[in-house]
Subunit: 394 residues, 2 copies
């Protein structure tokens, strides 16, 4: 096993394949084409920053999956996937970002060669890495195939984590705690935000103990003051100011597994409304953790969270969390269940969520969040260990 | 102008709109829907890590463009786009990653409201951020519209950079040089690769002089030894070894503008074949720079590069470069022209490319590259200033 090989047992991959194939059968899919890089990794171990070109995994109901991608990336596949070399397929470089050729023409030829030209092919219709053009070219090149929307079919199989996966998330959580503490420690009036981000990124990649840090699927988010009403601003070169809060949205990453964590720092005494919101939020988080137990549903967590916030007049229209684990940019969420009203996913042991009730007001923002694990019984476990208060620094 | 506002003049944005509208007219497009985050930023200034949900810019032939996205991200839009607030449109959170609703239903309603229900709508068919599902939902919801493939329509307008853009790329180049020098300096037997990446990331974000560093669209790539035959492996926690080469593929980033740079370090004396390849590569790079002048074509650069390599028996089937500038993950290339045989883009002053002739052999990899600027006359300018030798460290 090389240094890049995903350190899962063959049995773990077999478990994943079986689970996915049961879902394929239920959906009437003969052949699944997986473009989501997280799903590719989960099924085959493939790992590399090559998802900016068309690539994917072909999974038939029988036999081994094939990884398919740009010829020069087959070298990366040989180093990262568990299948034999015959299961690695490359397309010629003249297909890359060409205006006259499209990689899906090559994929269609491979599918025909395998005898799947008349198959019911599942494709991830709503995925960053399956473009409208890819679908159109594939449809034209495989006129006898039937296409089935298999968006998130694999993602749903990832919802309950194996013990091996949870172990990686725990290790990522050690890094998340470390970098969140570092960010809180470094936050002070006059500190340039990019400088703080630099320290956080360095610590995240250094890792903790024997675990080296991988890149997280989202860069550090850390808006300050009124800018923190905007959830997805990154950083700039401004100095942090007294009288302003900054939230830090961060995650450690170990072998692509994440454990996101957010905390908020206020420099100087916080406004009363913000301190109150933080207290209500913490009450809601505690109630949500209590509700996050097997047999309850995702919407129960949201309801428990929102009750104390509503009491002080804060109505969050947004979902308050999503499943997390293995991921690649641009998102560390798994894009299946959501913690929100109307979502009736029944909680099972081994599910992991980023319980993420950000509060974005007109003049400030507050984020205190946890990555949680549904246990066999009782309330959820928080994978990170860090006080949930609004951190106030003078 | 807030701290997040893109520091371009209004005249610069007007120039971009006019140029894009001429291309829309030539393509018979009445209304353009732009999903590529780089294109959104280039046209409107929008900046935020929110591209993991559906969002985009609507550009009609007349009037101002509108930014459209998730409601909670309109706060980020208000802080980053140059248009008035009436041009910022948000959709409700229950559209996000829902199995019963799709954000494109909201977009269709907006388009109908604007009176464009029967328009010829240009969409970026082959883009990470325009999924097959998005297209299918939009088509269904706008039965009277005609859809035109406008893949890379805006990207092509970005090929020739303005002086303001080149200034940002020069500033990014200062960071690229700094971090490449740092990587070379830190490379030594026993150095853990993740530790080296951490130092590079910290320096990249700290920036140089008054320029703070933004996140690059690709994380540092730095495979070692035989792994360097795979172009897109990232890092791990292994120690660097004597007798192995590591290439560093890096870029500084200033306000989303990049200037990628690669260099290779060999620890201990390099094998003869690699030293020879490096010499031929440098000869090819020099010849390519000579060929990179106005009136020549992109394929002329590739031909000049490849001649000395062929002489020593290295045949590169891959393209040797692509345009660069403004970008977001997962790619810092612009996905229009390519430096390769058959690509007949005529070079013009102000075009910028990552001249990127990676050599990936069975047992090692070598990357020595430059970000180049086509000048008014004469050979191209290299934006970074760093020796192109194969760096050998004992």
């Amino acid at each position: 096993m090389g240094p890049h090989t995903a350190p899962f047992s063959r049995a773990e991959y077999e478990r994943r394949l079986s689970k996915t194939r049961r879902a394929m059968e239920a959906a009437g899919v003969d052949l699944l084409f997986v473009t989501d890089p997280s799903n590719q990794n989960w099924l085959t171990g493939y790992d590399g920053w090559s998802f900016y070109v068309h690539q994917g995994v072909l999974l038939p109901l029988d036999g081994e999956p094939c990884w398919w991608g740009r010829m020069q990336d087959t070298a990366g596949a040989q180093r990262t996937v568990w299948m034999p070399e015959a299961c690695i397929l490359g397309y010629a470089d003249h297909y890359v970002q060409s205006v006259t050729r499209h990689p899906m023409q090559d994929l269609a030829a491979q599918i025909l060669r395998m005898g799947h030209g008349g198959a019911r092919i599942g494709v991830e219709m709503d995925n960053y890495y399956y473009s409208a053009k890819a679908h159109a070219v594939l449809q034209t090149a495989l006129p006898n195939a039937e296409f089935v929307d298999a968006t998130a079919l694999v993602n749903w199989q990832r919802l309950v984590k194996s013990d091996e996966e949870i172990d990686f998330m725990r290790r990522a959580a050690r890094i998340s705690e470390t970098i969140a503490r570092l960010a809180i420690e470094l936050a002070e009036p006059g500190r340039r935000k990019n400088e703080l981000v630099g320290e956080v990124m360095r610590a995240a990649v250094r890792g903790t103990g024997d675990d080296w840090g991988d890149y997280a699927a989202i860069v550090p988010l850390m808006p300050s003051g009124a800018d923190a009403s905007a959830p997805h601003l990154t950083w700039n070169g401004e100095e942090m100011k007294r009288g302003e809060a900054t939230f830090f949205e961060l995650s450690g990453c170990v072998r692509r597994y994440h454990a996101p964590l957010c905390r908020t720092v206020h420099l100087g005494p916080p406004p009363k409304a913000m301190a109150e919101a933080s207290e209500a939020l913490n009450e809601g988080l505690a109630a949500g953790l209590e509700a996050a137990r097997p047999g309850n549903t995702t919407q129960d967590i949201a309801a428990a969270l929102h009750a104390p916030l509503r009491r002080i007049g804060i109505h969050r229209p947004n979902r308050c969390g999503y499943p997390v684990g293995l991921s690649y940019p641009p998102d560390w969420g798994e894009r299946t269940a959501s913690l929100r009203k109307g979502d009736l996913t029944v909680l099972e042991p081994g599910m992991t969520f980023h319980f993420m009730p950000g509060i974005w007001m007109e003049e400030w923002g507050l984020e205190t969040t946890e990555t949680i694990l549904i246990r066999e019984s009782g309330p959820a476990e928080t994978l990170c260990d860090l006080d949930r208060r609004l951190f106030v620094k003078d």
